[in-house]
């Protein structure tokens, strides 16, 4: 798939947006040997090596490729739902050049040999960079910490129990303490499972009207509060995997104000949808954590705009029709999102809720920084992971045309404005929208 030697690429007459350096200017970007050579005004055809592909961007945005910090990929064990190959096709169509896959696989990514397996599969079948997060506890059982040192040395970029919370505070304390010695980041799904109980959507009026058991916001804030206390105690590095409600943002703000190593993500779903979207029991809107009230969504967007929320994730979670075409309470939770994350988030820009550069920072620069990855920047010398974005192109999502193996998108038939039109990974063009 990879050609041995790539021709240099000049992305000409673009709007260069580099959130890592707070730059937003009209100019050209030159890519040579898989790395960014320079980004400046007026490189032009005269200033490039012989044989350079010149791509006329006509004022479109050139930005660092997106780094999706939370995506479920079915390898190993659930290849029917998604493979590294299918996920990476969805990724490039969405402008994502780095996927951080989650350890809730079968078997779980809790052993260095499985990290190695993921890396080999990514090299052989992927089109984007794929880095696994490793399990924080063995078998995701929440009892015994994994080999954090050896897993990190093998290439795990962070440690998480995926969609599960570590309810045992002693286990969490020791994991944070131990991980600190290795500078490892712990990413945690903040939900008290006992308090959520049988809850399947946000607790409140809408759940009551639908006759569904509600999941209270306090299940999230309680776990986040506990975690912050443990971070205070241990000095560990901590990232909340997906915050959804205004109360959690207050907790997060206090932690950051106190100077703790605490950061957080919000999923594209929680930034652009709310509980009312569930409508008549639409299971593609059944998520964990659940979609919240509109006030919570607005608070999340405001937090993103001011940088309190660090990262936007797709929380990509492919589910078969068989587990979605069920009564709401019995259906599986999760939505695909890697391909629609960028266009859906551009809604926030078009609505004037957030600046483009701020959004792109949360989609690329911040996750790369938190995970210690070289992407997320257009700095000269950085790997040429780049996306060309047409911010205005109108299109309608057709779930049958999405690249993921599963169709469970909450954005089916959504009218979106803007999308990735060209995706470049390590200097090679891997996607072009025609």
């Amino acid at each position: 798939m990879l050609s041995d030697r790539q021709r240099p690429i000049l992305l000409a007459n673009a709007r260069i947006v580099d959130p890592s350096r707070d730059l937003d200017f009209p100019g050209d970007l030159l890519i040579v040997d898989g790395t960014i050579r320079e980004a400046k005004r007026g490189i032009g055809a005269a200033g490039v090596p012989e044989g350079t592909d010149i791509v006329e961007c006509r004022g479109r945005i050139v930005a660092p490729g997106l780094v999706d910090m939370r995506a479920f990929v079915g390898e190993p064990g659930a290849e029917g739902r998604e493979t590294i190959s299918s996920a990476s096709q969805a990724a490039v169509a969405g402008g994502v050049t780095t996927i951080i896959c989650q350890p809730d696989t079968q078997p779980a990514i809790d052993d260095p040999t499985i990290v190695d397996f993921i890396q080999r599969r990514a090299r052989d079948t992927g089109m984007v960079h794929v880095h696994p997060m490793a399990a924080l506890t063995k078998g995701l059982q929440g009892q015994e910490m994994t080999e954090i040192g050896l897993l990190k040395a093998a290439g795990a970029v962070a440690f998480t129990d995926g969609a599960r919370s570590v309810t045992n505070s002693q286990v969490m304390r020791r994991a944070l303490t131990y991980a600190r010695d290795f500078g490892a980041l712990i990413v945690h799904h903040t939900e008290d499972p006992d308090l959520t109980g049988e809850g399947v959507m946000n607790e409140g009026e809408f759940a009551a009207r639908l006759g569904l058991v509600g999941a209270p916001k306090a299940a999230e804030t309680i776990m986040l509060e506990r975690d912050i206390r443990l971070v205070t105690l241990t000095g560990g590095r901590y990232h909340a995997a997906s915050l959804t409600c205004a109360e959690s943002l207050d907790v997060l703000r206090r932690a950051k104000d106190a100077g703790l190593h605490v950061t957080a993500s919000a999923s594209i779903n929680h930034l652009t949808l709310n509980e009312i979207d569930v409508g008549p029991y639409r299971t593609f809107f059944k998520l964990s954590p659940p979609l919240r009230a509109e006030d919570d969504r607005r608070a999340l967007v405001a937090a993103l705009a001011e940088g309190l929320i660090d990262v936007v994730v797709s929380d990509h979670n492919p589910q078969d029709v068989e587990v979605k075409r069920l009564p709401f309470a019995e259906a599986a939770a999760g939505a695909i999102g890697i391909e629609t994350m960028l266009p859906a988030s551009l809604r926030l820009v078009h609505n004037g809720e957030i600046k483009l550069i701020t959004l792109l920072k949360a989609l690329s620069t911040r996750p790369a920084e938190l995970l210690g990855l070289p992407g997320g920047t257009l700095r000269p010398g950085a790997p040429a992971d780049v996306v060309v974005i047409d911010p205005d192109a109108p299109w309608i999502v057709d779930r049958d045309e999405l690249k993921s193996k599963c169709r469970n998108t909450p954005f089916d038939e959504a009218r979106l404005q803007g999308r990735a039109v060209c995706t470049i990974v390590a200097g090679r063009t891997v996607y072009e929208y025609v």
Binding site: T137, K138, Q143, E144, M145, T146, E147, I148, G149, L150, R174, T177, Y178, R180, D181, T234
Partner: protein, 317 residues
């Protein structure tokens, strides 16, 4: 019998409950006396008369082969009558058992009781209930004074002087009474003490023990004269305090590569029993820099010195 130590050192206190509370002079006096016993123990005629007529009880609430054997031999070489008692801790409720046992034994008029107990502070509690001398042979995660003394004797005989040496104590500091006693003793004698462990095996506040703290073996062993390894209990290896044996050995196990960070003439110690392949590699444990067998020899001498020095203080001595 014409052999007897020349030193007339007398321990000023009735009991030996910990290194804490011993003066510099106490420690040096014990080490000097122990040094004489090392020589006596290497003769064919090993028996002296310091404890003739005395009764020594080894009261072990926690299983121990080497410490118990070491005290038994020490008592016998000094001419005492030695009785070993192993008490199962599960028999009766613990507090009751301990004090009841103390009162019962006290009625038999022993002169010295050597006690090991799984609970920190238990030996001191027992000492309050008896009229004889009590020696702490290890209480919970608190102190193990004779181990620290034998370690010091071993170091002193090899390096001449403890003052100015850099000693790295590595491994499970959190649960180690050996570490606590050694930190106090080595600091008293003027060594520079470092502790090296993953954060999960360091007690909070360890920085205020007068030690340098590091989580990295390379940093901790750099320039060390002595590398003292601690035992990691099996139940702590599999995810509770450290993830696995493989990972622990990779980052904290003493192998030749890590030992090379220390001074070229650094010496390796371990209080035993060792977990080969966990905290220490066999090649190092059995290698030329290892003092581990010598520690055992010093153990008998140190315990003889402690018994002798305490007995000189006993009534009718």
């Amino acid at each position: 019998m014409n052999i007897a130590p020349k030193s007339s050192f007398v321990l000023s206190s009735r009991h030996l409950l910990g290194i804490e509370g011993l003066s510099y002079a106490d420690i040096v006096g014990l080490l000097d006396l122990a040094g004489e016993f090392v020589e006596l123990n290497r003769q064919i005629e090993k028996k002296t008369a310091g404890l003739r007529g005395r009764t020594l009880i080894n009261l072990f609430f926690e299983a121990s082969t080497r410490t118990q054997a070491s005290f038994e031999l020490a008592g016998k070489r000094l001419g005492a009558d030695v009785m070993n008692m192993s008490v199962s801790s599960s028999s009766i409720r613990k507090g009751e058992t301990l004090i009841d046992t103390a009162i019962t034994l006290n009625a038999m008029h022993p002169d010295i009781i050597v006690v090991r107990h799984h609970a920190s502070g238990a030996v001191e509690l027992l000492a309050q209930k008896v009229d004889c001398s009590v020696i702490n042979a290890g209480d919970g995660q608190h102190e193990h004074p004779t181990q620290a003394l034998l370690d010091a004797l071993t170091i002193r005989r090899r390096k001449g002087e403890i003052s100015g040496l850099t000693v790295a104590i590595c491994g499970d500091i959190l649960h180690s009474r050996v570490a606590r006693s050694n930190i106090i003793l080595l600091n008293t004698l003027g060594a520079r003490v470092r502790v090296v462990a993953p954060s999960t095996l360091l007690p909070p506040g360890i920085e205020r023990f007068g030690v340098e703290v590091t989580r990295d073996m390379r940093e901790g062993l750099a320039g060390a004269d002595i590398v003292m390894m601690l035992r990691l209990q099996r139940e702590r290896m599999n995810g509770s305090f450290v993830p696995s044996v493989q990972e622990y050995f990779a980052y904290y196990g003493l192998d030749q590569k890590k030992l090379a960070y220390a001074k070229s003439d650094a010496l390796v110690m371990h209080p035993g029993p060792m977990n080969r392949g966990v905290e220490i590699d066999s090649i190092v444990a059995d290698g030329a820099q290892s003092l581990i067998r010598e520690q055992v020899e010093m153990g008998v001498a140190v315990r003889m010195a402690v018994l002798e020095a305490l007995s000189r203080n006993l009534p009718n001595a």
